[in-house]
C-alpha cells in the first residue's frame, strides 16, 4: 500500500533515500511555517490554506509531504502538531545533535549568541579560536577554548557538527582535521567551498555573498527594465 518509498527495515517508521533534492530543500520552510501556525494555536490546516500562506501550490505541498508518508486525512486536512512533529523527525530536530564553533570572531560570536541552534534542537557546546586575545573570554556563557584543546575535546565529547567561522585561508586544512577527528557534519561560512572527496562527511556551505550578489542582480535587472 505505502508504495515503494518505505523499504527494507520494517522497524523504522520511514526510510526515504530517494526523495528529490528539490523537496528536501523545501522542508525547512515547512518547518518554519508549521512552527508559526502552532505558535498561533492553529491546530489544523488544509493544503489549500497552507498554499495561500506560503505562496506555493497546494499540489506541491501534498506531493512533498507524501514523499515521507500520508500525514493528512481526507476531508480534514493536516493536524499541525502531528505534521510539525513528523517534519521535525525527518529533519533530525529530535536527534539531539551537538555543535561546536571553530572561529570565535564576529560571526562566530553572533551565531553563539543567537537562538539559531536551540530552535532546531541543536546544542552548542563549545567555541574554539587560535587568537590569544579571544581565548579565555566568555561569549554567551561559553569560555572560548584554544584550538590546541580541540582534539581532546572531541575525544571526550560527542560532537556532531562543527561550525566553520574562520578565515578562508585555513578552512580547507581545518575541515580535513575535523573530518579526521570523526566529525560528520560541517557548516561552513567561509566563502570557499569545501570538498572532502570520498569521505562520509556532510557539508553545508552558506555563501551569504552569493545572496547579496543575487540581490544586486535583481536590482540591476529592475533598473534596466525601467529604461526599456
Amino acid at each position: 500500500m505505502k508504495s515503494e518509498s518505505s523499504r527494507h527495515d520494517p522497524t523504522m517508521s520511514q526510510s526515504h533515500d530517494d526523495v528529490s533534492p528539490a523537496v528536501i530543500k523545501r522542508l525547512p520552510r515547512y518547518f518554519r511555517y508549521l512552527r508559526e501556525l502552532l505558535k498561533n494555536d492553529i491546530l489544523r490546516i488544509s493544503s489549500g490554506e497552507l498554499s495561500r500562506l506560503m505562496h506555493v501550490t497546494a499540489s506541491q505541498i501534498r506531493q512533498d509531504l507524501n514523499c515521507f508518508g500520508g500525514f493528512g486525512q481526507q476531508g480534514y486536512g493536516y493536524n499541525v502538531k502531528y505534521l510539525y512533529g513528523k517534519i521535525s523527525d525527518i529533519l533530525g530536530v529530535t536527534r539531539g545533535y551537538n555543535a561546536i564553533i571553530i572561529g570565535a570572531g564576529n560571526l562566530g560570536s553572533a551565531l553563539a549568541s543567537s537562538p539559531i541552534f536551540e530552535k532546531r534542537g541543536v546544542t552548542l557546546t563549545a567555541l574554539f579560536d587560535v587568537n590569544k586575545d579571544i581565548v579565555g573570554s566568555v561569549i554567551s556563557g561559553y569560555t572560548v577554548l584554544h584550538m590546541d584543546k580541540l582534539d581532546d575535546y572531541v575525544a571526550s565529547n560527542k560532537v556532531d557538527i562543527a561550525v566553520l567561522t574562520l578565515p578562508k585561508e585555513v578552512v580547507r586544512e581545518t575541515a580535513e582535521h575535523l573530518a579526521s577527528l570523526g566529525i560528520k557534519g560541517l557548516w561552513n561560512f567561509a566563502s570557499t567551498e569545501i570538498e572532502l572527496e570520498g569521505s562520509d562527511v556532510v557539508v553545508q556551505n552558506v555563501h551569504m555573498g552569493d545572496s547579496l550578489m543575487t540581490l544586486c542582480y535583481e536590482l540591476t535587472k529592475h533598473n534596466q527594465d525601467d529604461l526599456e
Copy 2:
C-alpha cells in the same frame, strides 16, 4: 546572429529578462571561481577545465554563459579577465551600490567588519540601531546612528540596499518603512520572509537556519543509511 536574447534597446550591451532562475542562481558561483582563477593568474580557461574545477558539466557552463552572449571563442575557450568583467557587469558589481545596516547587534557588526560588501562592489555607508547602548559606538569605523536619524539620512544620501539584521518581530514594519523611503533592495537576515505585495522592492531572505536544518537532515539520512 546574436539570436533573440538581446532585444530592443540597441545602445545597451545586453538585456536579458528571460534568463531562467536556475541560471541566475549559479552566476555568483561563476563569479567566485573566476575571481579565484584571476588571483592565480590563470587568464584562459575552457568549459571543460572549468567543469572539472566546479563539478558541473561543461555543457551547462556553455549553456549558462550563452544566455548573456557569446563570451568565448571556438578553439580557444574563455578569456578569464573578460568573462569575469562580463559577469561582474551582469551581477551589478560595477554599479556602485550603497548599503546601510539596520540593526547593529552581533550579526550586523559581523557583516560591517567583513569584506563581504567591498568584494562585490557594494559600499557600506552607515549602521543604525535603536539601542542606546549601541548608538554612538564605533563599529569597524562607522559610528552607529539612531534609527530616528534614518529618514533624514536616506533623504540626503543614495541608499540602494538595506541590510536587515534586527529582531524578527520588527522586521515587517521596518521593511515597509524602508520601502516607503524609496529603498529598492532589502537583504533580510531575520528568519521570517518579507512580503511586500505589489511593490518594486527586491528582497533576498538569507535563512541560515534552513541551511543548518538541511545539514541535520543529511546527517540523519546518513545515519539511517548506515543502519540498513
